[in-house]
């Protein structure tokens, strides 16, 4: 199967090059506040992913009828409608996780990553590309959430996937991995300042990988046309 280069580029942009968490630094509030455990991070990541795909698709469908002047309120309304759906669904099916995410679930409405994609991409592109872009951006955001969640949960409690049954049902209790046993929690990793520090390290890691990759690339000889420059001003 040959991937359309346009989709390939969208995936590359969403997952790495223009990642909403690491590069655009959008939606930092939920990113830093709820990633204290992997389960919370996964829950919020899935919710954001769902909202992002749905809102991108809807915005793309109605893009010809939205007046330019009031597009932002309309986008917000659409996003709020989907967030309400997610919130009610989580309230119904994953009540404990709903409680532990707290205010950050309804606050997805104000997540700039979502309105940013609606404004920058979905309102200018057809349905298929817009939904795919939403999916890739959502996955990119979720991966950052998950990485932060893993780092902070391991440092803070020494476990991974503690309380996964809150999100995935009873069978998921087996997912809980105890990496090592602590006598005392490393509270900094659990508290928001630890999230800022971990986030800084993640961004540094990404930049480091980027520079390493750029160094590996063979230098492409720039084909330039030699021209005789005649500069009369210079002495």
């Amino acid at each position: 199967m040959k991937l359309n280069p346009e989709y390939k580029d969208l995936a590359w942009q969403g997952l790495w090059k223009n990642n909403p968490g690491l590069v655009q630094l959008l939606g930092l509030c939920p990113l830093l506040a709820v990633t204290s455990t992997v389960t919370n991070a996964l829950g919020l990541g899935l919710a954001t992913l769902f909202v992002l795909v749905c809102s991108n698709a809807t915005v793309s469908l109605i893009r010809h009828w939205v007046p330019k002047e009031i597009r932002i309120p309309i986008f917000v309304l659409i996003i709020a409608a989907f967030v309400t759906c997610v919130q009610l669904l989580m309230n119904a099916f994953t009540y404990d996780l709903y409680k532990s995410l707290g205010i950050f679930l309804p606050l997805i409405v104000t997540n700039c990553a979502i309105i940013g994609r609606a404004e920058a991409y979905a309102s200018k592109n057809p349905l298929k590309q817009a939904s795919f872009d939403g999916l890739m951006m959502g996955i990119g955001f979720m991966l950052v959430l998950l990485t932060l969640g893993v780092v902070r949960e391991v440092l803070g409690q020494g476990t991974i996937f503690d309380g996964a049954n809150l999100l995935l049902g009873e069978w998921a209790t087996v997912l809980r991995i105890e990496v090592f046993q602590f006598d005392s929690q490393f509270l900094l990793a659990v508290l928001p300042p630890g999230a800022f520090i971990a986030m800084g390290f993640l961004i540094a890691l990404k930049n480091y990988i980027d520079t390493k990759v750029a160094e590996r690339q063979p230098n492409v000889e720039q084909q330039s046309i030699e021209r005789v420059r005649v500069n009369f001003d210079a002495q």
């Binding site: 005392s184 490393f186 509270l187 900094l188 990793a189 508290l191 520090i197 800084g200």
Partner: protein, 354 residues
């Protein structure tokens, strides 16, 4: 004949960073000696641990940053940071406390911001606050003065306690901290705070065994030691006298006002001066040339602000001592204070914007 034309200053004291850092480290010696005399070997072990870790961390980061390793590792700033961390830790805290603290201070607070001279926060105090917030249990394992302990600790016992949590005879830290009457002893500031919440007056609290005759057995001498070291630094012109003076004056005035209003619920002025990290903060932490203010007026404001914050947190806050927190808050305020206290340059009107 051509003269070499250069702008002022024309004469320099050709001191290196390392000489200044060494001087400051010598000045901590009286305080550390007092700590050793009253609280045993714990702090010295922590200082050595923190020094080793800090040097190793500095070496690793500098080699990653491809800097001149030899000069910068040996410039003494990392060692001084380590000494300050070791001094401020509870003597019986486990070994990994000082290791994590030193790594955090050097790697995150100092080197990630660009190394010596670029750090917005005092590394030692930032590390202390990080430890206090992350490990509240271990960071409050204050050892009572040795004269009050029913189990005397030798050097080997202290070492064993720091590394394993138990002495060679198997006493736990909690047992070591227990008074002969069966209650856990805290620091004088902590004792006062707890007593006030349960309704005792200050006069009644002063009968507590940890406070002794004056302001706290051991603590008064540790603070006196740091005061002595600080005065030595002022005489040697290593630090400016304005910051410590304004800090101590501010703390004095705040506690005096409170003491005059309600002597039953406020400790005396000297109790505040000679307890906790007061003198260490005044002479060794607030005078940090990197993270503090630069102009004389700015230094006075920083000192006043820090004194006020220390008093407010000690009196109304959740923590018994507050020097580290107020130093960090003052570090945050320092750029703004510098902005508003720029000295007038010669030949310009004050308030001239151009």
């Amino acid at each position: 004949m051509a003269f070499w034309i250069a702008s002022s200053p024309h004469s320099h004291i050709k001191n290196k960073t390392s000489a200044l850092m060494r001087l400051v480290m010598y000045a901590t010696v009286p305080g550390i000696l007092a700590q050793w005399y009253f609280f045993g070997w714990g702090n010295i072990i922590h200082i050595l641990l923190a020094m080793t870790t800090a040097i190793a961390a500095e070496f690793i980061v500098l080699s990653l940053r491809k800097h001149q390793i030899k000069d910068q590792v040996l410039d003494g700033s990392a060692l001084l940071t380590a000494v300050l961390i070791g001094v401020s830790l509870p003597a019986l805290a486990p070994w990994w406390i000082s290791v994590i603290g030193a790594v955090f201070a050097i790697v995150v607070v100092k080197q990630l911001y660009g190394g010596l001279g670029h750090n917005p926060f005092n590394p030692a105090m930032a590390a202390y606050v990080m430890l206090l917030i992350s490990f509240p249990v271990q960071m409050t394992l204050w050892q009572p003065p040795t004269s009050l302990m029913q189990i005397q600790l030798s050097f080997g016992d202290t070492l064993a306690t720091i590394f394993t949590g138990f002495t060679s005879e198997g006493y736990s830290v909690e047992q070591l901290r227990t008074h002969i009457d069966g209650f856990t002893m805290a620091t004088p500031l902590d004792t006062l705070k707890t007593n006030l919440t349960v309704g005792l007056t200050v006069i009644e609290s002063m009968n507590s065994p940890v406070i002794g005759d004056n302001f706290g057995i051991g603590w008064e001498w540790v603070n006196a030691g740091f005061l002595l070291g600080g005065l030595f630094l002022i005489v040697k012109k290593a630090i400016d006298w304005t910051t410590p003076a304004s800090f101590l004056a501010s703390l004095f005035i705040c506690s005096l006002i409170a003491f005059l209003i309600s002597p039953d619920s406020s400790a005396s002025t000297m109790f505040h001066w000679f307890n906790g990290a007061c003198m260490l903060g005044a002479f060794f932490i607030l005078t940090d040339p990197v993270s503090g203010a630069t102009s004389t007026k700015g230094r006075i404001i920083i000192g006043l602000l820090a004194g006020l914050l220390v008093y407010l947190i000690r009196k109304f806050g959740g923590y018994p001592d507050a020097v580290a927190f107020s130093v960090l808050l003052c570090n945050m305020a320092a750029p703004l204070i510098d902005q508003y206290t720029r000295p007038r340059t010669y030949g310009h009107q004050s308030g001239d914007k151009s």
